[in-house]
Symmetry: C2
Subunit: 410 residues, 2 copies
Amino acid sequence: MLTREHLAELDAADALAAARGRFHLPPGIIYLDGNSLGPMPCAAPAAVQAVVESQWRDDLITSWNRHDWVNMPLRLGEKLAPLLGAAPGQVAVADSTSVNLFKVLSAALAARGERNLILSEAGNFPTDLYVAQGLAARCDCELKLVTDGDEVQSALDERTAVLMLTQVDFRSGRLHDIASITSAAHAAGALVIWDLAHSAGAVPLQLDAWQVDLAVGCGYKYLNGGPGAPAFVYVNRSFQQRFAPLLQGWFGHVRPFDFEPQFVAAEGIHRALCGTPPVISMAALEAGLDAFSDVDMALVREKSLALTGIFMALLHQECARFGLQVITPQVAERRASQVAVRHADAFPLIQALIERGVIGDFRSPDVMRFGFAPLYIRFVDVWDAVAKLREVFTTRSYEDPRYRARAEVT
Amino acid sequence: MLTREHLAELDAADALAAARGRFHLPPGIIYLDGNSLGPMPCAAPAAVQAVVESQWRDDLITSWNRHDWVNMPLRLGEKLAPLLGAAPGQVAVADSTSVNLFKVLSAALAARGERNLILSEAGNFPTDLYVAQGLAARCDCELKLVTDGDEVQSALDERTAVLMLTQVDFRSGRLHDIASITSAAHAAGALVIWDLAHSAGAVPLQLDAWQVDLAVGCGYKYLNGGPGAPAFVYVNRSFQQRFAPLLQGWFGHVRPFDFEPQFVAAEGIHRALCGTPPVISMAALEAGLDAFSDVDMALVREKSLALTGIFMALLHQECARFGLQVITPQVAERRASQVAVRHADAFPLIQALIERGVIGDFRSPDVMRFGFAPLYIRFVDVWDAVAKLREVFTTRSYEDPRYRARAEVT
């Protein structure tokens, strides 16, 4: 039998407890949606103000050199690299996840030889599938989707040019084993692309050790970079010479400020850049990355599994009679940092919870998602969130007609 | 003989004089580089702070609906549309200029039928050429470049799928006649794409009336949207049904938040979106667009031509003996809002001017560029800038060895 007192003791012993102070968390809110949009790092306002109200305002165009705006995409990439298990020179921050995925998928297809199949799973995040569908239609390729993520290894064959997967299923929170799947893909002669949108900052990654070819991910979820923060792109050093994305722009040129009419790709990860970087949004993301500078990702993983495990245990202990179905894997190795729960009234339940200060989100048709970011979520938050859910059930307050018709967004 | 007193009288009579107060211009600086990075609108800090320190901080994920983040790309597009001469529903703000150019060029090529030639000019902004080179190499197309921009009409033929030009030459400031060139391209059966990077906010545009098919442009130059501000994309209503960019992502889906696995393009200009918009950078751009809300672009054009014309006249009057060569057209119809001047010592001259508070920029190998943004540049600024240039020449201060080795960026 879990008690709130026991959870408070876990908080008192939590080696990551101090990190919570690096984020602004509105009073009275339990924020379980950091997997959609991370909260504001306390350092973000000053970082943004420095760019806007000092660098841009006072130093104008000269800031590109004076304040090193021109190197932000790679500077932020190097700050992110340790979280990805990447040695220097392989990560850049730029554009959106969709655009970066387009770059790496187009580059993988250009290096594919005779193979003409992109393999992915039907439950992949939709924008990844949309990017692949767009490319496949015009590049003489086929997109093959397996229904069950566990079937990807057996679906690999001599036609597979690229295996493109998201490590964490955005609905269920199921975690793929990048090491074994990448190894199987390479054994089958395919390249791999991993989307780490729900992984980076929540799950320890070893992209170099796992010999991942290409990866992308999101800046505004567990990296807390702000709404629509620039995304990231990883190109393994061994692939960089071959990396020739279909989308090429001046920031990927070897000498962008020589304004040469012929494109010549820069060396290394620079060639993953395209247009001018959105400096103000980048400044907020840099504050988010700085919040990780001394964080041990092994501790993050340990606390993440404890938080999600206790949440599931408490759902069983406190809410068993309400017909909830947890679709997140119970096995720790298969679970990322979120818990997904099915219920026929998932939409009004989430709305009622939000109105009571517990912010999760809804995914069509009947899934409630709760994200547990170990840097700022406490064990008592887990208790209080489940208590609110039980209250919403017992008072039947989720039946309020106001909760029936709202739109939502991630 | 022009005098500073005469120019002060022009300022006193300037119908746009009040607009200068909408921008922060550092004391002691004459900023003639708004064609590279516009200055900070006074409203920008509050706009950015509202997003960061109120919406993101306090309302977190719910801000996507509560503060209408989700509609920012189209809301900003509608604010921009009048400056482009576009009726509602044809302009979106998103991504970088390079990425937007990739979208429209790939969509134009997809609609091209049997034609296989992209026509442009060698002096086009390099990133435009890089985007076209990337696409041409993989889409069975050829990129043909004319050396002299005046030859584009005669180079059109039955092979031309797309004519892709930038209205304003980034070096010389030469202005293309969009109406006549578009008409000639259509007569030859080609689609047109116009890059308006150095036009929007400086030159009156009539994209609808000119029947332009597709256009893109930059948010951080004359629109004053901040460093690396999101760019814009225009898709003429008559082309929207056929508009199928190779780059497709979830914000261009007809129902993005239904998370459907199959891409179905949204109706209208929505389909020009791709990934999640960079909200913080967008907030700064919105402040820049708002500074134009009551501005008559005919007055902007009139003042622009007066500023550039007087600058050229003063160069002749005050600096004739220093070997300067103006490469910007003298004819008003051929001139945008910048003046380019060749000199063998262009690089150190610009550095010496910057150190004396006159900010222009350098373009390889020997060009000094001076941009005149009518919303905040005064006629006396033109006088004072030329006076500083004369001083730099007469004191030979540009020969200081410190000015020989710096990098620059736009």
